[in-house]
């Protein structure tokens, strides 16, 4: 059945929904090239009125390029776009808005220094005065359950509120089609649920939605139709409600997603030991760490679960040495107490660290990949930097090796880090550290924003590394991921870490209870409050 689904090609599954009417938007045989890199290769797409249409694909499959073309931000090299059956040229975003196409961007296109009303005015045609516009904003936003205050500065708004501004901005243009680029990737589950209610209402009112995502569950839950892209081509069209997450993922990746294979490891000697690691909070919003005890042995993966903002980043910084602990004995790597020493000392002992934020923390946006390799290896004594000279040739070879092993998709051989898509950069920053075969690897959110295929590759690499004798510590909010890779699981809650237990002995319910504060009581089993 899996093979059957994968063979469905463009056009063979036609969904009859509006009695075969004229598509609202149709793209025919779109081709877009960036230099030698083909981002869209003969891509066709049909969106019917009132339909929530999913555009699925892995990172770098060409989804974003396609929607930029539909929104007029890019021009195709070949192909045509039809709006309500008429061929149109969408020369600019303004032209797209004039047709009735609105867009909510993945990385918000808001102006932080301006007010909500000013932000919205910029996207509307000239002529409406601020006062009446502000009134309209507050009415429409309240009406759709997205309350906003017109005079707020965007810089003061939460991520969810900013998305509301984008959506309300679209709505005020009376659009017939709204394009949404991964709208839930930045939302809390509650905010996402609220968004789905709004989207369903819009669709009921006749507004079509082109919904880009790689969260397959939500595509199944709210979309009527899905177009699936892989490597710049449309590979399938389907009704997502009749598919399972597994079959959708298979269509996206083009092959069976490798289940992570995991043999039972035999833990060796402890390689990373945290002993009564306590650190005060650095700011009013920080979380203090309370006497954290943890030991990770060679050959095993220990995972730390927890809701974001419960001390994960503080713990990561303390283990990596970005923030030094008061006493050496608090962190021990391969028998060496290094708690009061910096990152380089710990790296030289064979430890490697992958922080949560890949662009800016894990990699310098404006530097080439090879230069980013040098940044984490200059002090490790592996010969990449010695006597004040840097061997960029060697760094380039490492980039090649990582690219090959983790299938990092990039245009030129050694581009700037910022030019990679999020998922590909994540593969690179994880690959760069795994490539060292570190004795201790600490990785935060290893597959954040990465598509299913790439996530499987990264998780398999972590498992293989551990089985080869390294100690691996994974800090993650993704329980599926934790159960997939972890041998033992601990939970962090408000800076307390629960005593780790074997994964087989842990249930989701138990983790949920620990997340909700239970970890504070079981932490270290010793101290009470």
């Amino acid at each position: 059945m899996g093979a059957g689904a994968a063979e469905r090609t463009h056009g063979s599954v036609q969904r009859i929904r509006t009695g075969g009417g004229v598509p609202l938007l149709e793209a025919r045989h779109i081709v877009k090239r960036f230099g030698d890199n083909v981002a869209n290769d003969d891509v066709s797409l049909r969106v019917m009125p009132g339909e929530i249409h999913a555009l699925l694909g892995e990172n770098g499959a060409g989804k974003s390029t396609l929607v930029k073309i539909l929104y007029g931000a890019l021009q195709p090299n070949a192909g045509e776009v039809l709006w309500k059956g008429q061929p149109v040229t969408i020369a600019s975003p303004a032209a797209a808005r004039a047709l009735g196409i609105g867009m909510v961007f993945q990385h918000f296109s808001l102006f932080e220094a301006l007010t909500v009303a000013e932000n919205i005015a910029l996207a509307l045609p000239k002529g409406s005065d601020m006062k009446s516009l502000s009134a309209r904003i507050e009415t429409v936003s309240a009406d759709y359950g997205l309350p906003l205050k017109a005079t707020s500065r965007v810089a003061d708004l939460s991520v969810g509120e900013r998305q509301r501004v984008e959506i309300v901005r679209c709505l005020l243009q009376n659009p017939e089609l709204i394009i949404m680029d991964e709208p839930t990737s930045v939302l809390t589950p509650q905010e996402a649920d609220q968004l789905f209610v709004t989207l369903k209402r819009l669709a009921d009112e006749g507004c079509a939605i082109l919904y880009i995502s790689h969260r397959l569950e939500e595509v199944r839950a709210i979309c009527h139709h899905a177009t699936i892209m892989r490597r710049a081509k449309v590979v399938a069209e389907t009704d997502p409600t009749t598919e399972t997450v597994g079959t959708l993922a298979r269509l996206m990746v083009g092959s069976e997603i490798g289940e992570v294979t995991r043999s039972k490891g035999t833990p060796g000697a402890p390689r990373l030991i945290l002993k009564a690691l306590s650190l005060p909070a650095t700011s009013a919003f920080g979380v203090p760490l309370h006497a954290i005890d943890l030991s990770v042995a060679g050959g095993e993966i220990v995972a730390i679960a927890g809701v974001a903002g419960n001390g994960q980043s503080e713990l990561f910084d303390a283990i990596s040495g970005e923030r030094e602990a008061p006493q050496d004995g608090m962190v021990t790597i391969d028998g060496q107490p290094v708690g009061a020493h910096g990152v380089n000392v710990r790296r030289r002992l064979g430890a490697a660290f992958v922080p949560e934020e890949r662009l800016g923390h894990g990699a310098v946006p404006g530097l080439k990949l090879s230069e980013n390799v040098v940044l984490t290896r200059h002090g490790t004594g592996e010969g990449i930097a010695s006597g004040g000279f840097t061997r960029f040739g060697l760094a380039g070879k490492i980039v090649e090796a990582v690219t090959h092993r983790f299938d990092v998709r990039k245009g030129p051989p050694d581009p700037e880090a910022r030019s990679l898509s999020g998922g590909n950069l994540q593969k690179f920053v994880v690959g760069r550290e795994v490539d060292r075969t570190p004795g201790v690897l600490v990785v935060a959110q290893p597959t954040w924003g990465v598509d299913a295929g790439a996530a499987a590759v990264i998780r398999q690499a972590l498992v293989d590394l551990a089985r080869a004798g390294s100690a691996v510590l994974v800090i993650s909010q993704d329980l599926d991921e934790i159960f997939e890779v972890a041998d033992r699981i601990a939970v962090i809650s408000r800076g307390h870490l629960s005593a780790p237990k074997p994964a087989e002995a842990m249930s989701r319910e138990e983790i949920g209870l620990l997340m909700a504060g239970g970890a504070e009581k079981t932490a270290g089993g010793a101290h009470a409050h």
Partner: protein
């Protein structure tokens, strides 16, 4: 005595205000043009040359404006079209302007200039004490205040100003919404050049009607600093420019009094006072953050 001091304060502050209000608009659009000094000095030499050769200070003013604008177009072409580094290009523009103005103005050194006439309205100008201050200035003083009001109104009350601020805050988003980032910035740079040219022309036509090489003497840099310390707000620019002018004149009057304070210390006072006062009034961190153009100095290359 007081009246005389106030009159000199106004003439000291006006060139700063003219150059700074232009640079404020440039920076609000996200461009950092460090070439204000160069544009000013070009305006000064062109204004002086045309005034002397035609006998008309008004034509001289126009020439100063055009000269500043022309030099700013070089900066615009290099930084906006060729996407060169704005800091380096601005510094180069200053050096270029100082050098070229020295070359062009060589024949005018020592030539007596023609002073821009002051307004004289019978009745009003003769009012004791305030008459000359309010109604007896030259036209550029009034122009400088009109510009501040116009820029204020434009930035915060018109759609064009909103677009300009948006481009300075986030050029990627402005581009995504379909605004012409480069065109907006060219217009802002040209406005800034014209204003700096006016400020320069004021020096050689109204302030001291003569030409000496390098006669701007760092005023372009002070204008630049005023823009930053005024948190990119036109009204604070007036405070800054006049405060600077006032302390400059007062310390000049204080120097011959023999107060036992080293003259170098007194020369330093205008800078110190201006910085302290402007930092004090921009104490609201949150508002300062909103008013600082986030894209200041960042190059923009559309992805297509």
């Amino acid at each position: 005595m007081l009246e005389a001091i106030i009159l000199t304060v106004i003439t000291a502050a006006t060139p700063l205000l003219l150059a700074a209000i232009g640079e404020l608009v440039v920076e609000r659009s996200g461009v950092l043009n460090l070439g204000v000094e160069g544009m000013m000095v070009m305006g000064a030499v062109a204004g002086f040359a045309i005034t002397v050769s035609t006998g008309s200070p008004l034509l001289g003013i126009v020439a100063g404006l055009v000269a500043g604008l022309a030099v700013s177009l070089i900066f615009g072409f290099v930084t906006l079209t060729l996407v060169a580094n704005q800091v380096a290009s601005g510094l180069a523009l200053t050096l270029f302007g100082l050098g070229l103005s020295g070359l062009l103005g060589e024949g005018f050194v020592g030539t007596p200039g023609i002073k821009l006439p002051s307004l004289s309205i019978p009745g009003l100008t003769d009012i004791p004490y305030v008459g000359r201050i309010l109604f007896g200035q030259d036209i550029l003083v009034y122009v400088s205040f009109a510009l501040v009001l116009a820029v204020s109104w434009f930035l915060f009350r018109t759609r064009g100003g909103l677009v300009l601020r948006a481009v300075g805050d986030n050029h990627v988003s402005a581009h995504a919404l379909g605004y012409k980032v480069i065109r907006v910035r060219y217009l802002a740079v040209m406005f800034g050049g014209a204003c700096a040219g006016l400020g320069g022309a004021y020096l050689s036509i109204a302030y001291t009607p003569l030409w000496v090489e390098n006669m701007t003497a760092g005023r372009g840099w002070i204008a630049l600093a005023l823009v930053v310390f005024s948190s990119w707000l036109p009204s604070r620019l007036v405070i800054g420019a006049y405060l600077f002018g006032a302390v400059t004149i007062l310390q000049l009057h204080a120097q011959p009094l023999g107060l036992g304070v080293p003259s170098q210390f007194l020369s330093m006072l205008p800078y110190l006072a201006t910085v302290v006062v402007l930092v004090a009034i921009s104490g609201n961190r949150r508002a300062t953050r909103f008013n600082t153009p986030a894209c200041l100095g960042a190059p923009f290359v559309p992805d297509r």
